[in-house]
């Protein structure tokens, strides 16, 4: 079986589901002959024709809005935003309509849409091409926000997202689009949404991250193992709704926790995770939960993006702060 990258796993999932379900249509800017600027829809138009894989005029709000009408009349639209940085014109349609159609009509109509967007920094792109604003979407009632972190999870979670009866924001960490390959059987098996994945087991500390920064988080865990510290690494994958119970289960063992994300710190999802840990597991904690995140700054142009993005050193510093809390002069 061929080894494939994360972006190839996205293509594989789209192709599988288009074969299986004639209601699935794929559309966006440059997704047709060009196969998407990252090649996520490579070859789909050739296979499924221009009636099912469509280049749209250049208007992101339109991509967001037509998906609502398509879905309300029984299709399974998958709309691509070329970069998360260009999704904001569509926010009105996503927030005001996609997320509410089922509720507004008391279940008469629904909105089974997938909005895909590459997101995150680290590929030396121009301004507006590198942000991580997943928390904006996770705040909106009625949405699901899903972020894969490996080829297998991209495949299984995207299938689940397309089959889900409600709208899903599917954010693809483009820094690791081609960072690793993996055997991903094209068997149409979806992975569960709303479930946390345990990527590495350990009993000394819980590290929580998603998307591209899991790469550095796993490297940090590897390094800690060399120092005799066994870190458990969790990937929530679905950021809304959040599987807090799996996080608490891990904390029962480790009692210490670090949350790592690229997004700015204030109001980021790390804050939500810490708040829920406080609500459900305050007594378990041996130390305050640490956050290792992007700064509360504008995402810098690429010469300085490495100083903005959380790195292994930063994660290890967070881990030490959590481990040393009692010993190191905490109260």
């Amino acid at each position: 079986m061929a080894q494939i990258t994360l972006v190839e796993a996205v293509t594989q999932a789209l192709a599988y589901e288009m074969h299986r379900d004639p209601r699935v249509v794929v559309f966006g800017e440059d997704v047709g002959a060009n196969g998407g600027v990252f090649r996520a829809t490579d070859g789909l138009q050739k296979t499924f024709g221009p009636d099912r894989v469509l280049d749209t005029p250049l208007a992101e709000n339109m991509i967001a809005g037509i998906a609502v009408g398509m879905a309300a009349q029984g299709l399974r639209p998958v709309g691509e935003f070329q970069f998360m940085g260009f999704i904001y014109p569509g926010l009105d349609q996503i927030l005001s309509h996609a997320a509410r159609f089922r509720n507004r009509t008391r279940g008469r109509l629904s909105c089974p849409v997938v909005y895909r967007a590459p997101y995150g920094g680290g590929i030396h792109a121009p301004e507006h091409h590198s942000e991580s604003f997943e928390a904006l979407f996770a705040h909106i009632p009625g949405l699901r926000v899903v972020v894969p972190s490996s080829p297998a999870r991209a495949y299984g979670l995207l299938l689940a997202a397309i089959r889900d009866p409600d709208p899903v924001i599917f954010l693809e960490p483009k820094r690791i689009y081609r960072a690793a390959t993996q055997e991903v059987p094209d068997d149409g098996e979806a992975l569960p949404l709303d479930r946390c994945f345990v990527l590495r087991e350990g009993s000394d500390i819980t590290l929580i991250s998603w998307g591209a920064s899991l790469k550095e988080t796993l490297q940090a865990a590897e390094q800690l193992a060399g120092e005799g510290v066994e870190a458990e690494v969790l990937d929530p994958a679905t950021l809304k709704p959040l599987d807090i119970h799996s996080i608490i289960d891990s904390l029962e063992k480790t009692r210490r926790c670090v949350v790592v994300h690229e997004a700015p710190r204030s109001g980021g999802l790390g804050a939500e995770i810490v708040a829920q840990i406080n609500e459900y597991a305050f007594d378990l904690l041996e130390a305050p939960v640490q956050r290792v995140t992007g700064y509360d700054t504008v995402m810098p142009y690429y010469q300085l993006e490495h100083v903005y993005l959380p790195d292994v050193e930063g994660i290890l510093a967070g881990v030490r702060a959590a481990l040393d809390y009692r010993d190191g002069g905490g109260q």
Partner: protein, 367 residues
């Protein structure tokens, strides 16, 4: 200075359609659908729409309804549009559409429920595919383009019969990107979409002249390569004819149409507004002389199809219809508190179960 020579690349005309003038006199031979029965039915629905609006405003004034947007003055556009669609076409309305909703089979008590603060009103029992009223301006045009794509796709790929999407909106909505993006896409993808603009001259307090320098809204169609025309929106026959023609062309694969229907908003924007602050009195008085219900009434009388006795009988009958709807609205028990979770997702995610139960506990005995 020397004026360079240039070649004419494109030019355009915008046509306006009218069958009945302000005095209710036919200006040309009426279309085939305009049989006495159809005209009487259109008249009845316009009178009913005006009655619903009138009673809804009174309910709001007495604290029994929330903010309400009357469509007084737009009856011909709503009724003319609604009646031009086939049952399984999909209507995508904006919020000021009493006449069209009634034509689509939406119940009066559903309309009252929506403005009475109850989402269940949007669960149109007799128009199951129609979209709910869109409150944000112009957003429904994009939904309608998506609907039109879905209908065309289902016809082509899944061998379903041809259906059409029809969207409505106000003159102010044509200033938004959503409007332009929707008609632009409909042109490129040749979608079975009809967009009807209720040009009632006002977007709350901002007059039509302050929305665009274009002479007509219909000509916005030219920029995106689709047909556009203007109709006299106080003439229900013209509206019905123009929409029916556009729907027929969309159904036969000939693509989208933009229809601008002109009328005058003879009421406040909503019950929270006071149009007296900005609508010139003389202009409103002049607009009342063009209004659509009296116009068709005059025509029917001149043709011997209508009398004072029939008018009185109709008003009695509709007053009863309205009374029944008001009672049904008043008798509808409030939804249970946890209903706010029930249709958030197809199935409530585990993560929100605790909030759901918390609300259930807190609300117990309170309602």
């Amino acid at each position: 200075m020397h004026k360079p020579r240039m070649h004419l690349l494109a030019s355009f005309d915008i046509a306006r359609l009218q069958y009945l003038d302000e005095q209710g006199r036919a200006t040309q031979e009426l279309p085939d659908f305009a049989t006495p029965d159809t005209l009487l039915a259109l008249y009845r629905q316009m009178v009913l729409a005006r009655l619903v609006d009138d009673r809804a405003v009174k309910l709001q004034r007495t604290g029994q309804l929330g903010t309400y947007p009357s469509s007084l003055g737009q009856e011909a556009i709503g009724v003319g549009t609604g009646g031009a669609l086939a049952k399984d076409d999909v209507y995508c309305p904006y919020y000021r559409e009493t006449g069209a909703l009634l034509e689509r089979g939406v119940e009066i008590k559903e309309i009252l429920a929506i403005w009475g603060g109850d989402e269940r009103g949007q669960n149109f029992r007799h128009a199951p595919c129609d979209l709910p009223l869109a409150i944000p301006i112009a957003t429904q045009f994009l939904h309608a383009a998506g609907v039109a794509f879905a209908l065309k796709y289902q016809q082509k790929q899944l061998h379903k019969p041809p259906r059409v999407a029809v969207a409505s909106g106000g003159d102010g909505a044509t200033s938004r990107g959503d409007f332009f993006e929707a008609i632009n896409l409909a042109g490129v993808w040749r979608l079975p979409l009809v967009v009807v603009i209720n040009n009632n001259q006002w977007a709350i307090s901002v007059p039509r002249s302050a929305q665009t320098a274009a002479k007509t809204i219909a000509q916005k169609a030219i920029a995106v390569g689709i047909p556009g025309l203007q109709v006299d929106g106080n003439d229900v026959i013209a509206v019905r004819a123009a929409v029916a023609d556009a729907v027929a062309r969309a159904r036969s694969g000939e693509g989208p149409t933009l229809i601008e229907a002109t009328c005058y908003r003879l009421c406040d924007h909503t019950t929270a507004d006071d149009a007296g602050r900005y609508q010139p009195r003389e202009e409103v008085e002049a607009a009342w002389r063009r209004e659509p219900v009296a116009r068709l009434g005059k025509y029917l009388r001149s043709e011997g199809l209508w009398s004072d006795e029939q008018e009185e009988e109709l008003r009695r009958e509709l007053a009863e219809v309205m009374e029944r709807a008001l009672r049904a609205f008043a008798d509808t028990p409030r939804d249970k508190p946890t209903a706010i979770f029930d249709h958030l997702y197809a199935e409530l995610p585990e993560a929100f179960l605790e909030q759901y139960e918390q609300l259930g506990r807190l609300a117990e005995g309170r309602d």
